[in-house]
């Protein structure tokens, strides 16, 4: 770590950081305060920062107001499988970009960027028709496949960048020792790339965990809903159950936050080589 003298600039930077953190966290603090209010208190005027009665029971009721546990489980399964599928495809592709020359390499890179230029909203019709043709509508497998595909571009770039930062000599030594290309990848490169694997895996996971529009279009049976769909059901036609909505939203954030905290060090390390090279 660098040792700046703790001069004015040091304090200014920290003060600035404090302001940004405060503004970023403010909506979630107020979401928490909202989630702990009884319904009657949501609309008192003028609005207050803290509930008068703390309705802790909201966090219990919300699990029965809608089948939240079911939605959480669906989301876990979909997100984990989408992440694994994403990784299984991104690792060889990223490695090929980093280490191998092959015809169409440039085109492949550009095509990946192109996939990011279409908002999912624009792709809905085509996605729906495709899933219809392969009989996967209203099946969570359709979400697994779609999420894995849509987060692939990022994972591939990211891993490619990291793989490039690994000295090639190590692999060459391994291959002279009789390892195949795949053997070198699996036994040498991957173990050295833990931070990047973790970071890109988390990106894929979060992408899947938070996606809404595609799930809305594919899924119809209530039991197949993912968490974002479940949360949306608190936005009713005539009224919004803000307290339950906020409680469910906060519940949805917790697993992601824990994941982030677990990998925070790897995240920066992974980004370091992955994004900068």
């Amino acid at each position: 770590m660098k040792r700046h003298e703790r001069g004015l600039s040091w304090w200014l930077l920290l003060a600035f950081l404090a302001v940004v953190v405060a503004v970023s966290i403010f909506p979630f603090a107020f979401a928490l305060s909202t989630s702990l209010r009884p319904r009657a208190e949501l609309f008192s005027f003028p609005p207050t920062w803290f509930p008068k009665t703390w309705a802790w029971e909201n966090f219990v009721t919300v699990w029965t107001a809608v089948p939240l546990l079911r939605y959480v489980l669906n989301s876990v399964v979909v997100s984990v499988l989408a992440t694994l599928l994403n990784m299984a495809f991104a690792i060889p592709a990223g490695y090929a970009l980093a280490r191998l020359n092959f015809p169409g390499k440039r085109l492949f890179r550009q095509a990946l960027l192109v996939t990011q230029m279409f908002s999912p909203v624009v792709l809905l019709i085509g996605l729906f028709r495709f899933m219809n043709q392969v009989h996967l509508l209203d099946n969570n497998a359709s979400l697994v496949i779609t999420y894995a595909a849509l987060s692939l571009a990022f994972s591939v770039w990211f891993l490619a960048g990291y793989f490039e930062s690994i000295p090639i000599e190590i692999e060459e030594a391994a291959m002279m020792d009789g390892c195949t290309r795949v053997g070198a990848l699996v036994r040498v490169v991957l173990p050295m790339s833990k931070p990047a694997l973790v970071a890109s895996g988390v990106f894929a996971f979060i992408w899947a965990w938070n996606e809404f529009m595609i799930a809305l279009t594919f899924i119809s049976t209530p039991d197949n809903r993912t968490l974002p769909l479940g949360i949306y059901s608190f936005l009713g036609q005539y009224s919004v159950e803000w307290n339950y909505l906020m409680a469910a939203a906060l519940i949805a954030i917790v697993p992601v936050l824990i994941l982030f905290l677990l990998i925070e060090k790897n995240l920066v390390k992974g980004l370091t080589a992955g994004a900068v090279k």
Partner: protein, 294 residues
């Protein structure tokens, strides 16, 4: 030095090519076909329409206005996000107590989906029950609530603020990663030379962060340009398309009005614009950014 192993290389990218080809390019082709067709309100193609859908856009004054708004929104969000994220990354790179906590808190808007972020802000900016109004009134700074989402000016300010807040985590963490790859000897050498903070920032840090700045800016532009949930949840374009961006306008045209043809034409146009932007951007910055434009 990459080796030439064409077969292995192709084999390694094959799964990705197949998956992305099917899941992303199939719908893109469908959209492209729709943009050249007469399309009914069930999104079924009913014959070739030539350039009619594209021509319709040129005479659509709302489209031109929304296009300008989209550019404004993208520039504002990406620009301010970058300017804010640089000092944030510098601060996160300092050694101070609570650094871990600061990083954890900063991540929260990223951990929540765009939709959740937007829904929470809609509640915070509620016309009658906004906690911001409540606080300002209690401090006697205002005596009437401000209807944040009610007029063009304040609504845009709100939408852009939320756009910035959700973009800061990714941007500042990428920049932090960029900073950490700056060898600390460089800093120390600068300090010994008596270079102050600003001097070392301008002459050492910023030039070294250039590559990562370019990549994050490019990705941010693409993501923000296409960001649907924030304007949609906050205002749905009200009043009269004044707070729409292209994706929300496309969604309205396609799904609320059943005009899938013109909507598809707009989607293709966005793609062309973004592609042109990435090519120009990478040309200007002359950076062989790893994001594909080599």
């Amino acid at each position: 030095m990459p080796r030439s192993e064409p077969l292995v290389g192709l084999l390694f990218i094959l799964p990705t090519v197949v998956l992305v080809g099917v899941i992303v390019f199939y719908p893109i082709v469908e959209t492209a076909l729709m943009s050249f067709s007469n399309v009914n309100s069930l999104a079924q193609r009913e014959g070739f329409a030539g350039l009619a859908n594209y021509q319709a856009l040129l005479s659509d004054t709302v489209f031109l206005r929304v296009l300008a708004q989209t550019v404004f929104w993208t520039v504002a969000v990406v620009g301010i996000t970058t300017v804010v994220s640089i000092p944030v990354a510098l601060a996160l790179n300092l050694n101070f107590h609570g650094r871990r906590l600061a990083r954890a808190l900063l991540i929260v808007p990223w951990a929540a989906s765009l939709m959740i972020n937007a829904i929470i802000w809609r509640w915070i900016l509620d016309g009658q029950h906004s906690i911001i109004n409540g606080t300002l009134m209690r401090l006697h700074l205002i005596d009437q609530p401000i209807i944040w989402l009610g007029s063009e000016g304040t609504a845009w300010a709100a939408i852009i603020l939320v756009g910035i807040l959700v973009s800061i985590p990714f941007t500042s963490f990428s920049l932090l990663a960029g900073l950490q790859s700056v060898p600390s000897e460089l800093y120390e050498a600068a300090m010994v030379d008596g270079a102050g903070f600003w001097a070392s920032f301008w002459h050492i840090t910023l030039p070294l962060m250039r590559p990562v700045l370019i990549v994050t800016t490019l990705l941010n532009v693409i993501y923000v340009f296409n960001s649907f949930p924030i304007p949609w949840v906050l205002t749905q374009g009200s009043p009269a398309y004044r707070t729409d961006i292209l994706v929300t306008y496309i969604y309205k045209r396609a799904f609320a009005e059943g005009q899938f043809g013109p909507a598809a034409a707009m989607a293709m146009l966005i793609f062309v614009l973004l592609l042109a932007f990435s090519l120009t951007f990478s040309h200007i910055t002359k950076e062989r950014a790893k994001v594909g434009i080599k």
